[in-house]
């Protein structure tokens, strides 16, 4: 009996569904003012570097709750452009381009544009990861986002642990990677993108035991592993996308920004 209870507790703690992994609902771990200040802090850091587009990652869970090799639970493009000031005049700032999974049906996803404050309301740790694409790559990425290609690259079937070299599922980080690949190889043919990523993109590898593999999907419908092989679970993450882009000179730099909540 004790063994059964221990197994149940293990399962629950290992695969408990978590909010703000990659959906639109806020966590509100910090106050609204802190989230607003942090969002503006990140905007300033991107703007100081002259980034018209950047890849930004947040975590809706504490790092202790994430698998080894994974630092963030959601990533999105931040794109510089005109924003309307409170007095109706025009200023400039960033808008955020997300892939979110649905809330009534978390096995499907949709594309949504919102704002840095929305992004930061899903942050639970006060740290974000940033990748600044090279100037040339920024233009290519903006070409993709501004075109129908961006929608064509979306695969609505969602898996929290989608394989970046497989067509069947997609999550927010894989979508970022697919857009990067579309810009790099100048194609929106997802089949070709997957072939190329299989050849050139070293994924982040998660090691799941057989029991975790067997039971994960029972407790969290977002975890679907039939696009994975028998070995490690391959995913796209901040670290692996960053390494890929830096290796092939698609990015100028990659870094993390800690929130300055001292005020």
């Amino acid at each position: 009996m004790r063994l059964l209870i221990a197994c149940c507790l293990f399962i629950v703690t290992a695969v408990t569904p978590a909010r703000a992994d990659s959906d639109a609902r806020p966590v509100d771990h910090f106050t609204l003012q802190q989230a607003a200040d942090y969002s503006k802090q990140v905007e300033r850091e991107l703007a100081e570097r002259g980034a018209y587009i950047a890849l930004v990652f947040r975590s809706g869970r504490n790092r202790n709750d994430l698998p080894d090799g994974v630092r963030y639970t959601h990533g999105a493009f931040w794109i510089y452009g005109p924003v309307t000031e409170a007095d109706g005049s025009q200023g400039h700032g960033y808008a955020v381009y997300n892939l979110y999974h649905g809330q009534t049906d978390p096995t499907t996803s949709y594309l949504a544009q919102d704002w840095p404050l929305d992004f930061m309301r899903g942050d639970a740790i006060g740290e974000v990861g940033v990748i600044i694409p090279s100037e040339e790559m920024q233009i290519r990425l903006l070409d993709v986002v501004a075109s129908d290609q961006y929608d064509a690259l979306h695969q609505a079937d969602y898996s929290l642990l989608s394989n970046p070299a497989d067509l069947r599922y997609q999550n927010c980080t894989e979508f970022l990677l697919d857009v990067v690949a579309a810009g790099a190889w100048l194609t929106d043919d997802r089949a070709r993108i997957k072939i190329n990523l299989d050849a050139y993109f070293p994924p982040t590898q998660l090691r799941l035991g057989w029991w975790e593999r067997l039971t994960a999907g029972w407790f969290d419908p977002r975890i679907r592993l039939d696009d994975q092989g028998n070995g490690p679970v391959n995913i796209a993450s901040f670290s692996s996308i960053s390494d890929f882009m830096l290796t092939f000179d698609l990015a100028d730099e990659s870094f993390e920004i800690q929130a300055d909540h001292s005020d």
Binding site: V83, Q103, Y110, A112, M137, S147, A165, N196, G229
Partner: protein, 92 residues
């Protein structure tokens, strides 16, 4: 041998081999703006196109050997935007 077989199967499934060319990033030739109908997508594209134009202008300026290149930094408004975004998942 097993790895080779799996690899071959995967390639066959997707119908081709990887590009011989590694990913590289030279800007593509300027594209015509695509047409679209969905209002959310149009708003998104409008914002992205504005960034696209600014990024291309900076790139072209840097290549034209202008005597005084524009500073790298971009101005950012102090306004924290909290506009309701179009909701593509209204049924939730």
């Amino acid at each position: 041998m097993r790895i080779l077989l799996i690899s071959t199967f995967t390639l066959a499934l997707y119908g081709g081999t990887a590009d011989g060319q590694q990913p590289a990033a030279q800007p593509a030739a300027e594209r015509a703006e695509p047409s679209g109908t969905d209002s959310g997508a149009e708003q998104r594209r409008g914002h992205a196109r504005a960034a696209q134009r600014m990024a291309r202008a900076r790139h072209n300026s840097a290549r034209s050997n202008a005597p005084a290149p524009a500073p790298a930094g971009l101005p950012v408004s102090e306004t924290v935007v909290n506009q309701p975004a179009p909701d593509p998942d209204p049924d939730r």
